[in-house]
Symmetry: C2
Subunit: 417 residues, 2 copies
């Protein structure tokens, strides 16, 4: 079955690659229209998914993540229309020129081909990913969380109707509907048809993909992010940034998880931190070296466990560790970080430069919140994932990250000398 | 042992990333000097490798590939000095600007970190790869062919002496000296330390890496390249291009392996082809539809076997297949090609455009030889590999392909709204 889907996707990708931006936008507009027109069908499927999820004892928070309603669906349709507004990178000439030999070459941006996306039970991702793939002329094979399989199937049906209405094959966007996990492993070895795998989920999914996939995988989305409070930091603005980085949306991957505090500012800073974190409802997980100054304070404080330096909390919890200097802070980040987003708060130019140069993360910040690591914030318009690996795209991945390039050589009957 | 090497390489990579171009060139110059000064040691090691290889019954052609002599070693040293002349991409600001929020961001080019290279028994590759990695501030872990392990070890010793002389750790360039193949599998799972794997070898090695590696792999270097002779092609220039693409250096991956001939030109073209191929010493492997017009001719002709469309000959052999039109040619290339280099010979603008847009290869040519796919020819100065995958770099990989980028955000105490 997957082999069939792969073949259909590859065949569709050849057609999609030739579409103009106007033709691709026409499909996207139709998808948005159909999502609105067929709201009832999608909501009915979603209700069945929710009923099953409730019967299976999923938490209210989880149920809320799965649930669609007319307003949410309208939001999804609006997002598709937003994608129409984005500039299409396909066809762009990256560079080129006349070679010494006389051959004229150019590097032209082209779609990747077929993109496989494996994601959790978030019903908006289906449309989100499909629209970004279509905008860049790529076919997509989607494997969503099993808790929302009916919602995903209903959504993909709407997308396929829009595609066919525009004279395009339904194979351009397909979903694996079966909840069988073995199909994920099978999908990861479909290197004959799929050009790139994007896992959107937890560390376990990323590990599975890295280990099993014979297709290039974009790993990322796991953020053990750090803020280093340097000796020269100013306490009030530092606290504002920490509150923003920890509490604005704690469940996101660009949320700070560990605070590293220079020992020379610790005595002044930690009591102020405790005050602020008490107000913000954040529990501090303190290293021994920070505990003395924190334990009398108003914030909730517990001792940090070693393993907590290596995991995302994704909640109102924050590690606090006092370091002797910038070197120790950088060493800590190298050891425990996930190369996502890390920040230094400092007034010292040389330390800012050193942090930028020596911390090997997708995004490094000076006196700014780690929360900025986001396709929308970075002006990419939309993001399909956040990469923390070094090949292909790094950090927030916009439309350009869904393309590759080809070299084109124009000769007047040219041979290599 | 590999774990130790990985740790040393990662630690070295942090130092290398901070070097200026001048400092990196100083190391490269010293490597070139030492290669000249210690020619005797390297040649002695090479003689032992050759003696073993001869005892193991390797062919003369293979022995010639393994052999070093003073002139070849001088050539290798000169190549290192050439790398000094190349522009260093590290530190380059790719783009940047002021975001709506007021955050100033830039994307800055940085080294990848640690690069693992697995290659065949070619003694020049060790220095070649090491110098390109060092120039871009990357550490390298090298695993060369077992037939030249002594040569590689002697060469790496010279490189490490040069590194240490410049105050840099020997861990910057390390070689796995043991011929144990299990170490390759172990290396491919060292994702904690190695950022990218480049296999330089045959299809088997690439498959092994794709299947076993948990580190992103650059696959490529396998070229089943096609030339499509369109109805409107001119026969004389077409033959010149085919001779160049087939015979200039048949063992390379950008050599043409299959000729697709438009049926409307076949009657005029095939007899001329046979004449020319007879002169060039090329054996034609003809499809049934080409056999009638070829079998009376002067060239050596045999029937093509189906599997021969999918493999590189790397010799003076060429498949010939008559196709009914451009569509059939494109379909053939999609089915049998390796997305390396494919060319159309035509005088018809629309067909040239269609070929460029519809053939999904790293390099596509109009009226030019496939032999141009090469870092030197493309003006990249040197190439570390030719990629035929779509993530990261595609086609010839120069210095830029050994870098990634990081996002840097500069705030004046900025939080996300």
């Amino acid at each position: 079955m997957l082999e069939q889907m792969g073949m259909a996707a590859k065949a569709a990708s050849y057609q999609l690659a030739l579409l103009s931006s106007r033709e691709k936008n026409r499909v996207l507009e139709k998808i948005a229209d159909y999502l609105e027109a067929q709201t009832d069908d999608i909501l009915r499927a979603n209700e069945q998914d929710l009923a099953d999820a409730r019967a299976n004892g999923l938490s209210e928070a989880m149920l809320d993540r799965l649930a669609l309603n007319p307003a949410r669906l309208q939001g999804i349709a609006n997002d598709v229309r937003q994608v129409c507004q984005l500039a299409d990178p396909v066809g762009q000439v990256i560079d080129g020129g006349l070679l010494d030999s006389g051959l004229r070459i150019e590097r032209r941006r082209v779609p990747l081909g077929v993109i496989g996306v494996i994601y959790e039970a978030r019903p908006n991702v289906t449309v989100d990913v499909a629209s970004l793939c279509l905008k860049t002329g790529n076919a997509a094979i989607l494997r969503g969380g099993k808790e929302t399989w009916r919602t995903n199937a209903a959504t993909v049906k709407v997308i396929q109707q829009a595609l066919e209405e525009c004279g395009l094959p339904a194979g351009a966007v397909q979903a694996i509907e079966s909840p069988d996990r073995a199909l994920v492993s099978e999908m990861l070895r479909l290197d004959k048809y799929i050009d790139m795998i994007i896992p959107r989920g937890g560390a376990g999914l990323h590990k599975l993909c890295r280990e099993q996939s014979t297709i290039p995988v974009i790993t990322g989305g796991i953020g053990v992010c750090h803020i280093f409070v340097d000796e020269s930091a100013e306490i009030d603005p530092a606290l504002k940034i920490i509150v923003n980085a920890k509490t604005q949306r704690p469940s996101t991957c660009n949320t700070v998880e560990t605070l590293l505090v220079h020992q020379k500012i610790a005595a002044a800073f930690l009591p102020a931190l405790s005050q602020q974190m008490a107000k913000s409802g954040v529990t501090l997980h303190a290293a021994d070296n920070a505990m003395a100054q924190l334990k009398g304070g108003p914030a909730n404080v517990v001792p940090v466990e070693a393993a907590q330096y290596d995991d995302e909390y994704l909640s109102l919890d924050l590690n606090v560790n006092v370091v002797s200097d910038l070197d120790e802070a950088i060493a800590h980040i190298r050891q425990h970080g996930t190369q996502h987003s890390d920040a230094i708060l400092t007034r010292t130019l040389r330390n800012a430069d050193r942090f930028i140069n020596e911390v090997d993360s997708s995004a490094v910040y000076v006196n700014a919140s780690t929360r900025f690591t986001d396709g929308g914030q970075f002006g990419l318009g939309a993001e399909v994932a956040v990469s923390t690996q070094k090949l292909h795209a790094r950090g927030p991945m916009g439309l350009e990250a869904l393309t590759t390039y080809k070299w084109i050589g124009f000769g007047d009957d040219m041979i290599r000398a």
